[in-house]
C-alpha cells in the first residue's frame, strides 16, 4: 500500500457564495465521499480543512500579505491522505470528489517514503 495526499483546490467564487442549502448538500456529499473511502479501508488520514478567512503569506524581505489569494485566484482549502495499491486507485477515488461539482479540482501526490528513490 502506498499513501497519496489528495489536495483540494478551489477558486474564489465568481457568482457569490453558495446558499445554505447548497452548502448543506456539499457537506453531505463530502461526508458520504469520505465515508465511502473509509468503508474501503483506504482512508489513512482525515487530513484538515484550511481556513479561508485567516491566512497570511510570508515572503522574503519581511513582506507579509493577507491570505493566499491576493495574487492567485486559486487556493488550497484542504487535504486528506489515502492508502491505495497504486496511483490509479487514488485517482479513481479523487474522481468522485464532490469538489469537482463546485468548480474545484484535486491534486493527487504520492507521499515520499524513506526507501523511495524516485
Amino acid at each position: 500500500m502506498k499513501e497519496f495526499v489528495l489536495i483540494f483546490r478551489n477558486s474564489v467564487q465568481e457568482g457569490g457564495n453558495p446558499s445554505p442549502e447548497q452548502m448543506q448538500q456539499l457537506l453531505t456529499d463530502w461526508m458520504n465521499w469520505m465515508g465511502g473511502i473509509a468503508a474501503q479501508d483506504k482512508l489513512a488520514d482525515r487530513g484538515n480543512r484550511l481556513s479561508m478567512s485567516e491566512g497570511k503569506t510570508v515572503k522574503p524581505g519581511d513582506v507579509v500579505t493577507d491570505g493566499p489569494y491576493t495574487e492567485v485566484k486559486e487556493f488550497i482549502n484542504g487535504y486528506i491522505i489515502v492508502k491505495t495499491a497504486n496511483i490509479e486507485d487514488a485517482v479513481s477515488i479523487a474522481r468522485e470528489c464532490p469538489i469537482l461539482n463546485v468548480g474545484g479540482h484535486v491534486e493527487v501526490r504520492k507521499v515520499v517514503s524513506p526507501d523511495d528513490h524516485s
Binding site: G35, A38, A39, Q40, D41
Partner: protein
C-alpha cells in the same frame, strides 16, 4: 420479619451472583488482590452457611446485610488463623495482632469503590479481550464456569483454562493495584470501556438462543458501566455515551425476539414492546455524554441507537452521517455493512450497490445478508445467491430462520444448506 421459605431457591442464585462479586471485591482489597482466591473461598463459604441457615430459620429481612456480617466474621477468623500460624512459626511478630482486629466494612461506598478497583484490575490488556470478558463475568459478575461456558456456547474445560491463564497473567501485573488514582484511570479507561462494550455485545448480538442468558450479560454490562458513571474519577463522557448506547439497545431487547426466540428485524418490531424507562435513561446519559466536546465511537453509536428510537424514514440521513463519522474513526466490517444499509435507505439500493462495488467480505454472513437485501428488487437471482451464502455462513438458528424466510419470499428454495 421472615420471608416465606419457598422463595429461597429463587432468591439465592440471584442474590449469590450480585453479592458474591461484592464480597469478593471488598475482601480482596483488604487482603491484597494476590489473595483473591481466599476472598472467593470466604464468599462461597458465606453462601453455604446462608443456604443451611436460611432453610431452617427463614430468609432474614435484609439478606445482604446478613451475608456481609457472616463474611466479615469469616474474614476475621481467617486472619486470626493466619496470625496464629505466622506467629507459631516466627514466634513473635509485631503488628500482626493489630491487623487481625481490623474492621471489614461493607458500606455502599466501600463496595462500590472495591468493585470499581476490581473492574480496572480485570480489564488488563495483558489478556486478550475474550479472556477479559470471561474474567469479568467470573470475578465482577459472579458467574460460574458453567454459566460462562453457556453464554459463550463453549465447553467447561476451555473456559476453565482461559480463566486460569488469565488469572496467572493478572497475578504478575494488575494484582498489585491497591487503589485507583487519576493516572491509572487515564491509562486503562479505554480498555475498561472496550471490555464492557464487548461484554454487552456478547449479550446483545449473541447467537445464543437462550434469551435470559443474553439479558443477563447485557444487564451486567450496564451495572458495571453504572459503577463507572457514579464515581467522580471514572465518570467520563465516553462512559456516559456507552451507558446511553446500552440503554437504547436494551430498550429493544424484548422486541428483538418473539415468543419462540426467533429474531425480529428492527423494521418489524412492535414498538409497544420497547422499554420506555430504558429509552429515557438513554436520552439522559446521551445528554451528559455530549456535555463536553469529546466524540468517541460510543458517542456515535449511541447517537445512531438514539435515532433508531424514532419512527419514520427521516432518521436515515442522520444515521448515515453518523456511520460516515464512525467508519472514519474506526474501521470495522460491521460498520461498513451497517453504513451501506443506511446508504440504501437514503439513496436507494442501486446507489448502495455502487458503494459496495469495491467491498467484499466473502466469509461474512452479514455481508451476504446485506447484498441479498440490496439485490432483492434489482436482481432476484443475485439476491437469492447471496442469501444462500449468508444462510450457510451464519451459526445462529434465529438468523437462519429470518434468511430462509427472505429466500422463500423471493420465490427461491432455502433448503440448499444443511
Amino acid at each position: 420479619m421472615n420471608v416465606n421459605n419457598e422463595h429461597i431457591d429463587t432468591l439465592i442464585p440471584h442474590l449469590f451472583r450480585q453479592e458474591y462479586a461484592k464480597i469478593t471485591a471488598v475482601l480482596s482489597r483488604h487482603f491484597g488482590l494476590q489473595h483473591i482466591e481466599v476472598a472467593e473461598d470466604i464468599a462461597s463459604e458465606t453462601f453455604v452457611k446462608a443456604m443451611s441457615h436460611w432453610a431452617v430459620h427463614g430468609i432474614p429481612a435484609s439478606p445482604a446485610a446478613w451475608l456481609y456480617t457472616v463474611a466479615k466474621n469469616k474474614a476475621k477468623d481467617y486472619l486470626r488463623r493466619q496470625v496464629l500460624f505466622e506467629s507459631e512459626i516466627k514466634n513473635e511478630i509485631k503488628g500482626t495482632e493489630k491487623e487481625a482486629e481490623q474492621e471489614f466494612e461493607f458500606s455502599e461506598e466501600i463496595i462500590a469503590d472495591s468493585q470499581l478497583l476490581m473492574i480496572f484490575v480485570v480489564c488488563d490488556p495483558v489478556n486478550p479481550p475474550s479472556t477479559q470478558i470471561c474474567l469479568a463475568l467470573q470475578i465482577l459478575c459472579g458467574f460460574s464456569v458453567e454459566e460462562i461456558a453457556g453464554a459463550f456456547l463453549s465447553n467447561r474445560e476451555t473456559i476453565k483454562k482461559r480463566l486460569h491463564r488469565g488469572r496467572v497473567n493478572l497475578r504478575t501485573n494488575s494484582f498489585q493495584l491497591r487503589s485507583l488514582n487519576r493516572m491509572e484511570v487515564d491509562a486503562r479507561m479505554s480498555a475498561v470501556l472496550k471490555t464492557i462494550y464487548l461484554l454487552f455485545n456478547e449479550g446483545y448480538f449473541s447467537q445464543n438462543e437462550k434469551v435470559f442468558i443474553r439479558k443477563d450479560l447485557c444487564a451486567e454490562a450496564m451495572r458495571l458501566t453504572l459503577l463507572l458513571v457514579e464515581n467522580q474519577l471514572t465518570n467520563s463522557s465516553e462512559a456516559n455515551a456507552l451507558l446511553a448506547l446500552m440503554s437504547f439497545q436494551s430498550s429493544r431487547l424484548n422486541a428483538r425476539t418473539n415468543e419462540l426466540g426467533e429474531a425480529i428485524l428492527y423494521e418489524d418490531q412492535d414498538r409497544e414492546l420497547w422499554d420506555q424507562f430504558l429509552m429515557q435513561k438513554g436520552y439522559y446519559y446521551l445528554g451528559k455524554a455530549f456535555a463536553d466536546k469529546v466524540v468517541s465511537k460510543y458517542h456515535l453509536e449511541a447517537g445512531i441507537a438514539c435515532w433508531h428510537t424514532t419512527g419514520g424514514d427521516a432518521k436515515w440521513p442522520q444515521i448515515l452521517q453518523l456511520y460516515n463519522q464512525l467508519i472514519m474513526l474506526e474501521y470495522s466490517p460491521m460498520t461498513v455493512i451497517n453504513r451501506a444499509f443506511a446508504f440504501a435507505k437514503v439513496y436507494g439500493c442501486k446507489q448502495a450497490l455502487k458503494e459496495m462495488e469495491k467491498i467484499d467480505f466473502p466469509q461474512n454472513s452479514y455481508y451476504h445478508g446485506l447484498m441479498g437485501f440490496l439485490y432483492s428488487e434489482l436482481d432476484v437471482g443475485q439476491a437469492i445467491g447471496h442469501y444462500r451464502k449468508a444462510l450457510a455462513l451464519t451459526g445462529s438458528v434465529a438468523e437462519q430462520r429470518v434468511i430462509a424466510g427472505r429466500i422463500e419470499r423471493l420465490g427461491g428454495r432455502a433448503d440448499v444448506v444443511a
